[in-house]
């Protein structure tokens, strides 16, 4: 499987990008290092959601809650107890996966929109608890100034830590999608009835996909704590979940790397348009509408080469007439 991966052209491209990103902090100003870190964390979150949405066709409407659970678990363990940092990080990811398992077991019996709605409801429950439990979570203020271990507390070292974790997670996600399990998941997406008929346990595969996705969502949450050193209830709010969903659709939800692009676009918009005007969501809305009308498969899902060939062929035909 590895040799096959290395032979592919896209693997070389991503290796080159990875090396450039490794060198980036040495010539970029500090703000851009931080900015890239935000993109990496958001990209991992969107990628994990896309395992459910793009590859499994599960309407995971409240994925942000698992991001929040990961961040809250790691943040609370670091701030309120004296456990070593690595236990807190692993506990954060596992807590998200556990929440994914519990919520998934409830939701998986329902179909499509009902699935999404029950998930929003259960997720909002967790949000409401985090929002109101002042003595533990700090309520709507959240907790700030969480002690981060020294070796990843500066902007540059946090950047490297996030980049390396992101790289490992992306390789794992790629292997999962290309594995027999991933193929089964995509088969279920395309025709659940037939899959059930040939003896595949549809519900169990979907539940496994949810648990894997929420685990990586939790990893993204832990990385958020490393980057920001704070936690607040907006991480669990449904607006964030919808934003991640949009990132998947925007980048191209049937492609592997699409969500990364979607995350990069939305984070850049928020950062750069946000410095000029407070009305950046207006711009985002207009871009979304343009996208819906002209690129319904997402930016990476659009087959540019095919369309260009068709276009040039048509042009050539017109010239000869």
């Amino acid at each position: 499987m590895f040799s096959e991966m290395i032979r592919q052209k896209s693997f070389c491209v991503s290796a080159v990008i990875f090396v450039i990103l490794l060198l980036a902090p040495s010539f970029l100003p500090r703000f851009y290092t931080y900015f890239l870190t935000i993109i990496f964390v958001t990209a991992l979150l969107a990628m994990s959601l896309n395992l459910c949405v793009g590859h499994g066709m599960l309407f995971q409407f409240h994925h942000g809650v698992f991001y929040g659970v990961g961040a809250y678990t790691a943040g609370l363990l670091l701030a309120k107890t004296s456990v070593p940092w690595w236990i807190a990080f692993i506990a954060g990811s596992l807590a998200a996966a556990l929440a994914g398992l519990l919520i998934g077991m409830f939701c998986i019996r329902l179909n499509r929109l009902y699935f999404g709605m029950l998930q929003i409801s259960l997720g909002s429950l967790i949000w409401a608890i985090a929002f109101r439990w002042y003595s533990l979570t700090g309520g709507d203020d959240g907790i700030h100034g969480i002690p981060i271990p020294d070796f990843i507390s500066s902007t540059t070292s946090a950047y490297y830590f996030v980049l390396i974790v992101l790289g490992i997670c992306l390789i794992l996600l790629y292997l999962i999608i290309k594995s027999p399990f991933g193929s089964t998941l995509q088969a279920i997406r395309d025709n659940p009835e037939r899959c059930a008929a040939v003896g595949i346990n549809v519900r169990r595969h979907q539940l496994t996909a949810i648990v894997i996705a929420t685990f990586f969502g939790g990893v993204a949450g832990v990385l958020f704590v490393v980057m920001e050193g704070s936690i607040f209830p907006d991480l669990l709010f449904w607006v964030l979940s919808l934003e991640i969903f949009i990132m998947c659709l925007l980048g191209g939800w049937f492609t592997f790397a699409g969500p990364i692009l979607g995350a990069a676009i939305i984070v850049s918009l928020r950062t750069f348009v946000g410095t000029y005007t407070e009305y950046w969501t207006l711009i985002l809305g207009i871009i979304l509408i343009l996208l819906i009308f002209f690129l319904p498969e997402g930016i990476m899902g659009y087959n540019y080469i095919e369309k260009f060939r068709a276009w040039s062929k048509r042009n050539a035909a017109e010239r000869f007439e």
Binding site: I120, A128, E278, Y279, L282, P296
Partner: protein
């Protein structure tokens, strides 16, 4: 009860009535959402923004007329029409070209609309808190079982059933209502017998948004009108529609009552975690009846 006061029958009944009157506003907003969901099959995420615009418009209209009783009544009439006009423009200029597309794209479109409308509201009205006075006859409170309840809540208790009956009469007795219900069941067939389905959809969408505006105008005297009220209402409205049964108007009523009453009893019994109670109720309903209390039209 945190202050050790005994829960009396009066307190329970007042809590119940306040919960039901809150449920009436939820019902008016949710029935619009449910109508759009039933006919167009679209979860309209922008519904909450239209509700917010309804509340802001009601504030502007009532201050324009001096904030007296007459201002409130005019606001109650004109604010929903303003919202309906906005939805007409959005529907005819953009939305109607997308009906053939995949469902997720329609959802995405309404989300984009929500972002745009939310920011436009911020540009036009700003981020201040606003409040409206209820008209003179609804100020003060009346005593029921020895406890006071605001007169405005009584007004809500009356207007909720009026809207419900009006909607029921409209959808089961008028021709256009029947066409809309038929389009919900089988849109190809309705198109095949020579009815312009696109205009039926537009009409249903505008009616749904009108109800959102009406809900916004009605809620404006009871809360402070501000940016961000769209985010709260839309999630509640979606959950209510889901537990009631998608597209079923009476289901929206049942769901609203469940939501409103659990919320107000939550405030009575455990104020700190009051917002948790309705979500727990939703989880219980959906685990018990996965497709909602009443029959959904899907």
């Amino acid at each position: 009860m945190e202050d050790g006061q005994a829960i009396t029958f009066a307190a329970l009944s007042i809590t119940f009535l306040v919960g039901v009157s809150r449920a009436m506003i939820l019902f008016i907003v949710t029935s619009g959402l449910s109508f759009v969901l039933g006919v167009l099959r679209i979860p309209n995420v922008a519904h909450g923004s239209l509700y917010m615009i309804g509340a802001f418009a009601a504030h502007s209209i009532s201050t324009l007329f001096g904030g007296e009783s007459i201002g409130f009544w005019l606001a109650l009439i004109f604010a929903p029409f303003m919202v309906a006009l906005i939805s007409l423009v959005a529907e005819r200029s953009l939305f109607c070209h997308l009906y053939e597309r995949e469902h997720l794209m329609l959802l995405l479109f309404t989300f984009a609309l929500m972002l745009i409308l939310g920011d436009l509201t911020k540009i036009i009205w700003g981020a201040d808190y606003r409040s409206i006075m209820a008209p003179k006859i609804f100020q003060g409170s009346v005593s029921i079982f020895g406890s006071p309840i605001p007169k405005y809540n009584i007004f809500l208790l009356i207007i909720g059933p009026i809207v419900a009956i009006g909607l029921w009469l409209f959808s089961s007795k008028t021709k256009i209502g029947k066409i809309a219900r038929a389009a919900a069941v089988d849109r190809e067939m309705v198109g095949a017998i020579g009815i312009n389905v696109s205009w039926v959809f537009a009409f249903a969408f505008i009616l749904g948004c009108f109800l959102a505006g009406l809900g916004g105008a009605l809620v404006s005297p009871t809360i402070s009108v501000t940016i961000g009220m769209d985010h709260n209402i839309i999630i509640e409205a979606f959950l209510i529609v889901t537990i009631g049964g998608l597209g079923n108007m009476w289901g929206a009523m049942v769901g609203s009552l469940i939501f409103g009453i659990t919320q107000s009893f939550g405030v009575l019994f455990w104020p700190q975690f009051a917002i948790v109670f309705p979500y727990v109720a939703v989880v219980i309903v959906l685990t018990w009846k996965p497709t909602g209390m009443l029959k959904s039209v899907w």
